[in-house]
């Protein structure tokens, strides 16, 4: 029997209301394995508030607080202040927000929390659109993607603008820890959660979160798509410590072509060869930029 490579303990209950094959559900399961039961998760309006609480149940064995969509950063700052006032020193405070609630609506609150040096972990699970309300584009939707508000019809050919660089915005606040995580790589995912848990101060985790209905692919391919995203340089895995040192945590040698990742998803089905070639060039440039930032620089 193979040894377990991630903790056996579960703090997410089955019976939750996520779609079959939901990347965000696996992300939560892995996250809580790393954080343990002395955790309070604070969520804005997002897929996960619906997933977690089919009334009168909860899918989390930890504490759970619902808050308004723009308030994740403020909520976890307040929870930390309350825990301090009550003398509760062993609590981990976690904000768990989608990309819309982070990159768009909650950006001011995230910035405030980072700037106040709140001792908490902010998790952005990134399914690259407002999925809970039915696939509207967010600032984190990648260029070219179909959504209901960036349709493929007439003059519209998917989202024209590139994805917002939330990690760049977060890094400019110099948090004690920031990392990108992907549930397709559970061991790397858990190592980063555990590293974040051992630190104090503002910490940020950007979690890749494939969405079968929103990205238009068959639910059994969630893990495969996550792997392709990282190995093609679309979602590189790296971490940044308090000293600003950036380490790439999965190199995997030469990058895979992005076409395999794009062709697997209905939201990109309309893209032409030339458009995919342009995305390939952008992914390559982004990867090379990361390599230059990485310490120690590669030989």
């Amino acid at each position: 029997m193979a040894k377990l490579t991630i903790p056996a303990e579960e703090y997410m209950y089955p019976g939750h209301a996520a779609c079959p094959g939901c990347g965000a559900a696996l992300a939560m399961r892995l996250l809580l394995k790393g954080l343990g039961p002395r955790t309070i998760v604070s969520m804005p309006a997002c897929c996960w508030t619906v997933i977690a609480t089919p009334y009168p149940t909860t899918a989390l064995a930890t504490g759970l607080l619902d808050h308004p969509i723009e308030a994740t950063g403020a909520s976890i700052s307040g929870l930390r202040a309350a825990a301090d006032a009550m003398g509760l020193k062993d609590l981990e405070i976690v904000g768990f927000a989608g990309d819309g609630g982070t990159a768009d609506i909650g950006l001011q609150s995230l910035s405030g929390m980072l700037e106040r040096r709140t001792d908490a972990i902010y998790v952005m699970y990134d399914n690259e659109a407002y999925m809970n309300t039915g696939i509207q584009r967010s600032g984190s939707t990648p260029a070219g993607a179909w959504t209901t508000t960036t349709p493929v019809a007439g003059a519209s050919h998917g989202k024209p603008e590139p994805k917002k660089d939330v990690m760049g915005i977060v890094r400019a606040h110099h948090p004690v820890y920031a990392a990108t995580l992907n549930p397709s790589f559970p061991e790397d995912f858990l190592r980063k959660v555990e590293r974040a848990r051992g630190l104090h101060g503002p910490r940020f985790l950007h979690v890749f979160s494939p969405c079968p209905p929103g990205w238009k692919y068959s639910s059994e391919r969630t893990i495969e798509l996550g792997r392709l995203a990282t190995d093609s340089g679309i979602f590189p895995l790296y971490e940044v410590g308090e000293d600003g040192v950036l380490s790439i945590t999965r190199r995997g040698g030469a990058l895979k072509p992005v076409a395999e990742y794009f062709r697997a998803q209905g939201r990109f089905a309309h893209l032409t060869e030339a458009e995919i070639a342009a995305i390939q060039a952008a992914a390559r440039a982004n990867w090379e930029r990361l390599l230059r930032l990485a310490t120690p620089p590669p030989a």
């Binding site: 193979a2 089955p14 019976g15 996520a18 779609c19 089919p54 909860t58 899918a59 209905p213």
Partner: protein, 289 residues
Amino acid sequence: MLEVRFHGRGGQGAVLASELLAHAAFLDGKWPQSFPFFGVERRGAPVTAYVRIDDRPIALRTSITVPDVVVVLETGLLRTVPVTDGLREGGLLLVNSALPPELIEVPIPVRTATVDATGIARARGLGSPTMPIVNTAMLGALARATGVVSLDAVRGSIVHVPAKPRENREAAADGFAAVRSGEGRHLPVARRAERAPPLPEGPIAAVPSSTLVTSSWRTLRPVIRLEKCTRCNFCWKYCPDDAIELDPSGFPVIREAHCKGCGICAAECPPKTIEMVLDAGARGGWGVR
């Protein structure tokens, strides 16, 4: 005025069915309206849609709580959703089932009609074998069982469907021909509380979600051939539903109440010992003893 409530699952076409019915009524010279319940957008989760049909303009804009007709696109919903709630006396329950109406368990005495819309959709090649699109066969059956719209109007409405308009029109005619009417088997069952209990002081949600059953969402279920299992635990590791546990010797066991049939375990299993097979629920057997 006639009020129709559709119950289906996300992805089955209940909302489109309500739009087609309204369009058909319009073609018959009536004043229709149709709209879905704005709930959570979840593939496989219960979905509700409404249609009103009248001979004159309709000013009402509310959801339908006292329907004349309830259309159920999947029998499993009879067990998990209170579909007959508010059904008007003398109303009609139309269920997608291969069984005769007398074998459909209903919580109140009600006129019941059945049609094997799943079988019709499969025969006409609508949707995939695992996710048949049953809505047009159900509309044909509805036209016959209620007379509220003509079959011609239903067929006329099936123009702007996403795929296979001809096959969908044929499915509507099949449903029209095959529907059977009768009386459901009245079997009072333990019902959900009529009203939500008052909010408790303190934690609002203290019951684990593992008390809920989510496997009724699935059309496929995983079957593990344990003799080929290497106990690598990949299936367990990647399950987004925590629906696989490992027994003391490290073999995976599916939690049948919670597995939604996403197929990740089968896709990620290195020796490919997991096969996804059609679940009984997908054949319309769910909810009928």
